[in-house]
Symmetry: C2
Subunit: 350 residues, 2 copies
């Protein structure tokens, strides 16, 4: 199959597994409030997304000779981990919307308002959001632990999955501090990208699949980590230079959030005193204007910072592809997909 | 060993395992902010507590013939699950103190204030608290998955542990709704106690230990669930009738929080119109006075509601002990401990 076809077909299978899981789950629940929670989680998890992490877990499995459909069920656990982390992220960012619909804490906040409960709707919403995130994590572990693979492999996979979650947490902490401490440089940033994107989105899922295939995927991280970091660099480029239409959020969002991307860090290094002030007055400013954005873009271009990020991303993708080509793997189609994916990471425009 | 001696000796061993785990963990971390998080988790987890869940997991293991020290390491995972849930609970309740020291979100809030970071200290604190709770959960899963037991047993234990966490979550949701919806009766309450206390604190830990001993502990829940519910009923009695000294919190706390305990539910059922108003004006009133408390206590006594709760707790303990005596178990000392524990549940004054 062609890569785009794999993306489409696997996404459908994974979503089928999630639907089946929620059907079973809802049947077993005794209390109306547990069913309500489960239904909210189901809708939130199934409302969209490319399912890239679950797809990569399937491909990691196939890459090392695994076959059959049980891997789709096991891999769907990553989509519940994604819900877990996103629901908690939504609370931290105080976002009301996720994929164009209400976030979990907002859904509960609105239930509170509608029913006219006592107490504070916002607190109620956030509390329910914390619990539903935790529930999604428990569901994910259940799915993986109950999948039909040898126990030795499942134990290793569960260890790896929790290590991924752990490092995503460390990444999130670095991310939060990044906007606050002065001494936040390129090294901190690359560690953040490694933890929060490369391990969580690319390396982790591939290794999980390999583990369930019974393999020790040595060398796979030499593909996955650089490609994952390149993915994040491209994300940051699109975040500053993309269009609102393709981003699905205001073009000023990244600036307003105060995200210290490599683009910003490098531009600040090379900028004149005056230019630095332009960037600093835009960064983390919730009221940042389109005119300010244009001036920041200009400085990022002029200082060579945009080129630096682009070239680093390209270098990382080449490095990743070279490492993958050097690996001894068992499935050419899966390998071709990953080579395509590496290029796609920096070619995509959304 | 005598029960009290078991409590003391096992607690010490479990805390030793936790200390060792954190020592190893801290060594492996690359970023200062990850180490900071890990140290805060270590202090929070080790600052006290009876370790009753971990101790029960060890006893469940011994009850079915398990021996050796590895079970202490595996059981220490439950203390990290306890940190996970308590850290998130502290956020939900907006508590600044836990066991006489600052809660995790409060620790970070104070770091924010001290360092003079931008943004809101309270939001920063809660966000870090959410992440550190999630980290504690990942640590717990790692400990259990990496313990030295056969993989089949570990997979079953991980499934069970996540089921326990799942039902604790449902219990927490029922608990939050309990203060809000009118139609909250004895049935809802007993389901809440079953999920949030009996399964989480008694049944879950015992079954986890039994699973690691390779047993299918059928019938064990007939001891664990009734005794667990009795434990909660006694907790609620102490919460209304205890002394500040023994409770370690104001005697009006449960009333001020609006906790709909069985004591309150039954008293409301039997109370006169006037008495009902006394209870309703005290329940969930953050400014409730000691005089109001005394009047509520009087009504709870007079309506027979205190007797009802006490007798139900006693009945449940007898039921549990009878079920345990009917079980075919392999370790008399562990069995004796559990028989002692059942009585202790309703005899304790704190």
């Amino acid at each position: 199959m062609e890569p785009q076809e794999i993306m489409r077909a696997y996404k459908e299978k994974i979503e089928g597994c999630l639907r089946e899981f929620f059907e079973q789950k809802k049947k077993a629940l005794e209390h109306w409030s547990s069913r309500e929670a489960c239904e909210i989680l189901e809708e939130y998890t199934l409302r969209g997304g490319k399912r890239i992490r679950a797809i990569l877990m399937v491909l990691g499995y196939q890459l090392y000779g695994g076959s059959g459909d049980e891997i789709f069920r096991a891999s769907s656990s990553l989509e519940l981990i994604q819900s877990y982390l996103l629901i908690h992220d939504d609370i931290m960012d105080e976002s009301d919307l996720r994929r164009g619909k209400k976030t979990v804490h907002k859904i509960y906040e609105d239930i509170h308002l509608k029913k006219g409960f006592g107490g504070r709707p916002h607190r109620f919403g956030e509390n329910m959001g914390i619990i539903l995130g935790d529930l999604a994590n428990a569901y994910a572990m259940e799915i993986l632990a109950s999948s039909n693979f040898p126990s030795e492999r499942k134990v290793k996979a569960i260890e790896k999955l929790n290590e991924i979650i752990e490092y995503t947490g460390y990444g999130q902490i670095i991310d939060i501090y990044s906007g606050m401490v002065q001494e936040f440089g390129e090294d901190d940033l690359l560690l953040l990208h490694k933890y929060k994107t490369a391990r969580y989105t690319i390396e982790g899922p591939l290794v999980l699949g390999a583990i369930l295939a019974g393999a020790s995927p040595e060398g796979l991280e030499n593909y996955a980590i650089p490609v994952g970091i390149a993915f994040q660099l491209q994300d940051d480029i699109l975040g500053l230079f993309g269009s609102e239409e393709k981003l699905g959020k205001p073009v000023t969002s990244d600036l307003a959030e105060g995200k210290k991307t490599l683009l910003i860090i490098k531009a600040l290094e090379k900028a004149s005193e005056k230019e630095r002030k332009v960037i600093e007055s835009a960064l983390g400013n919730p009221a940042v204007t389109l005119e300010q954005l244009e001036r920041v873009r200009e400085i990022v271009r002029k200082t060579g910072s945009l080129d630096y990020s682009r070239k680093l991303a390209e270098k990382l993708v080449s490095e990743g592809k070279r490492a993958l080509n050097a690996l001894n793997v068992k499935n050419q189609e899966a390998k071709d997909f990953l080579l395509w994916l590496a290029d796609y990471m920096i070619k995509r425009s959304y």
